[in-house]
């Protein structure tokens, strides 16, 4: 089982890096990247779990593998959505961060 140790640590460190980036990075694009790093860490952890559960002729437990495949697709969809939102925000307001929250009420006519 020692083979999974490097990846376990990498997964934990990726989660930490991703969280750190999501919190402190200001640019939207960097936040999206940090989210993907964070997701990568989570998926890698599933990989560790899958590898630890290898057996019965499977090189890794197929259930976590399937979960990661599903998760990767969902994460991609989320990334695409975030990118579109960021582009539209940039296009309309020229902003590249989400620093200030726009307090939004009913639009004044």
């Amino acid at each position: 089982m020692s083979a999974v140790l490097p990846y376990s640590i990498a997964a934990a460190a990726l989660v930490a890096l991703g969280l750190f980036g999501l919190v402190v990075q200001a640019a939207v694009l960097r936040k999206i990247l940090a989210f993907n790093l964070l997701g990568g860490g989570v998926f890698l952890l599933f990989g560790v779990v899958a590898r630890r559960g290898a057996g019965a002729g499977a090189t890794a437990d197929p259930v976590p593998q399937a979960i990661v495949i599903t998760g990767l697709v969902v994460a991609f969809a989320a990334t695409a959505l975030a990118v579109v939102l960021a582009l539209r925000m940039h296009q309309i307001t020229g902003a590249a961060t989400i620093a200030e929250a726009a307090e939004d009420g009913f639009p004044d006519k």
């Binding site: 989570v42 779990v49 259930v63 939102l85 307001t93 989400i98 307090e103």
Partner: protein, 499 residues
């Protein structure tokens, strides 16, 4: 437990119907989407009613084993009292919002298909599908997919108006929700690694107070709290909910946050062992108390009506968390009360808040603004909308007879019964502050309009009636005999109690 019960097919229909409806609405487009949505949501209400009746009659949860595979390998759908009650609440609110949307979100004449109406109707179905998946799912990863569906649907509904200022607040919402999702997913990875299953019923048997389980619970809870916008994680909620069109706001505030709460209950009441859960619950309830007080206080000082209502949601979410330490206190009688109180709070808040957002939207639409200080004349121009707002407000305050009152009464007596009087103080203080902001709106709208103001255009009767009907349901929940709420107790694990 893992087998299919009689009536289990209802669960499949409750999920497959909105999923199929959404796909068809998306494919066929335009006005057809609206027609499909109305039909599917109507049928969905019937189904939800049948499920609730079936659960109540059987006195036991319904379950359906998908594809014939038994957990842990396979997945199952299940409806206990909690799921049945929330499903019915969601179905009714969705149907009401759909009826409201017939006027507000109609495809304009002369075009085949327009962006906002098409998005609204399709995502209305999407939301129904996501909520059904979130309430009926019995597997933590399946519930993750449901949460993601919910996030996408909610985000798109929040963006419906397409105003420039919205993209920034929606982006904040998306990022925070995504962090929440990822933390939740991380928790499921640990749970699978530790117990080899993600089925809730099996985890309830296998999970102990070991390190991976506890960290998983903390991660998943934090993720769900981010999605529920529990104070102090509420940064995204006010702008997102206030910036959406009224029909969307009603759904976001009334239903979407509740789905994450159901997951939280599954985690805390089913999966977590009582000892660590009992230790963590006061922390969550403390945040809930802070949410009630701070949220109400901020709502009291808002200048915009829709933001006021949104902050009211921040506060009302807090009440849900008060049930945790009460349910976990180990007193079976108080636990049953607190459980019912919490779920009743979720349901009555869903109706009341939907009514509030709809009526606030009508008022804002007719006046052309939503400044609280300048609501004069609203009461005269659209009495039904203002009455709906007032009735909903009474329910939120906890004035009898209303669902909110019964909910708070149950929580109150459970708090006193378990010797945790401080939660009682919070419940009552929150009611007072709630009264303050509801009063501000009502008093403002009942004053005479400024002389120079143009006479506001009275809204159509139909939408006003929908708002009023929702408010009345929220009030009427307080008149239903308590015994018939025995439904929500079905399937709840009875805890031995923390030492």
């Amino acid at each position: 437990m893992s087998g299919t019960t009689p009536g289990g097919w209802l669960l499949v229909l409750a999920l497959a119907l909105p999923v199929g409806g959404m796909l068809l609405a998306f494919a066929l487009g335009g006005r057809t989407a609206e027609r499909i949505a109305l039909g599917v949501l109507g049928l969905g209400t019937v189904l939800a009613g049948m499920i609730a009746a079936e659960v109540y009659a059987a006195g036991a949860p319904l379950a359906y084993r998908l594809g014939g595979w038994a957990p842990p390998l396979g997945l199952r759908l299940q409806a206990d009292g909690l799921a049945a009650a929330m499903l019915l609440t969601a179905a009714l609110v969705l149907l009401a919002v759909a009826l409201f949307g017939r006027a507000a979100q109609a495809t304009p004449p002369g075009v085949q298909e327009a962006r906002a109406p098409f998005t609204f109707w399709t995502f209305l179905l999407a939301l129904a599908a996501s909520l059904a998946a979130a309430f009926l799912g019995g597997d933590l990863f399946n519930l993750f997919v449901a949460l993601e569906m919910l996030t996408f649907a909610a985000l798109s509904l929040a963006c419906l108006d397409g105003r420039p200022s919205q993209f920034r607040s929606e982006l904040r919402y998306l990022f925070f929700a995504l962090i929440g999702s990822v933390l939740y997913l991380l928790g499921t990875a640990l749970l699978y690694g530790a117990h080899g299953t993600l089925d809730i019923a099996l985890l309830a048997e296998r999970a102990g107070a070991d390190l991976p389980t506890l960290l998983a619970a903390a991660l998943m809870t934090a993720g769900l709290l981010a999605k529920m916008a529990l104070f102090p994680l509420h940064l995204w909620l006010p702008p997102a909910h206030a910036g959406a069109p009224p029909a969307a706001s009603a759904l976001l505030s009334g239903l979407v946050v509740k789905a994450a709460f159901v997951l939280l209950l599954r985690l805390w009441i089913w999966v977590l062992p009582p000892v660590p859960a009992g230790a963590g619950a006061p922390l969550l309830a403390g945040l809930g108390a802070a949410a009630i007080l701070v949220g109400s206080l901020i709502a009291l000082r808002q200048e915009r009506l829709k933001l006021l209502v949104a902050y009211s949601t921040v506060a009302q979410i807090g009440y849900l968390f008060l049930m945790l330490p009460l349910v976990l206190a180990g007193d079976p009688e108080a636990a049953a009360r607190a459980w019912l109180g919490g779920i009743l709070q979720a349901a009555s808040h869903a109706f009341a808040k939907a009514a509030m957002f709809l009526s606030a939207g009508l008022v804002a639409g007719a006046l052309g603004h939503d400044r609280v200080a300048e609501l004069g004349g609203a009461g005269r121009a659209m009495p039904m909308a203002v009455i709906a707002f007032g009735l909903a407000g009474l329910s939120l305050m906890g004035i009898p007879p209303s669902g909110g009152f019964t909910a708070k009464w149950l929580l109150l007596t459970a708090a006193l019964g378990t010797g945790q009087w401080w939660w009682a103080a919070v419940i009552l203080g929150g009611g007072l502050l709630t009264g303050g902001y509801v009063y501000r709106v009502l008093a403002g709208s009942l004053t005479a309009p400024p002389a120079a103001a143009p006479r506001p255009e009275p809204p159509a009767q139909g939408p006003e009636r929908v708002a009023l009907a929702l408010a009345l349901v929220s009030v009427a929940l307080g008149l239903v005999p308590l015994a018939s709420f025995g439904l929500v107790q079905i399937g709840r694990p009875i805890l031995g109690g923390a030492p």
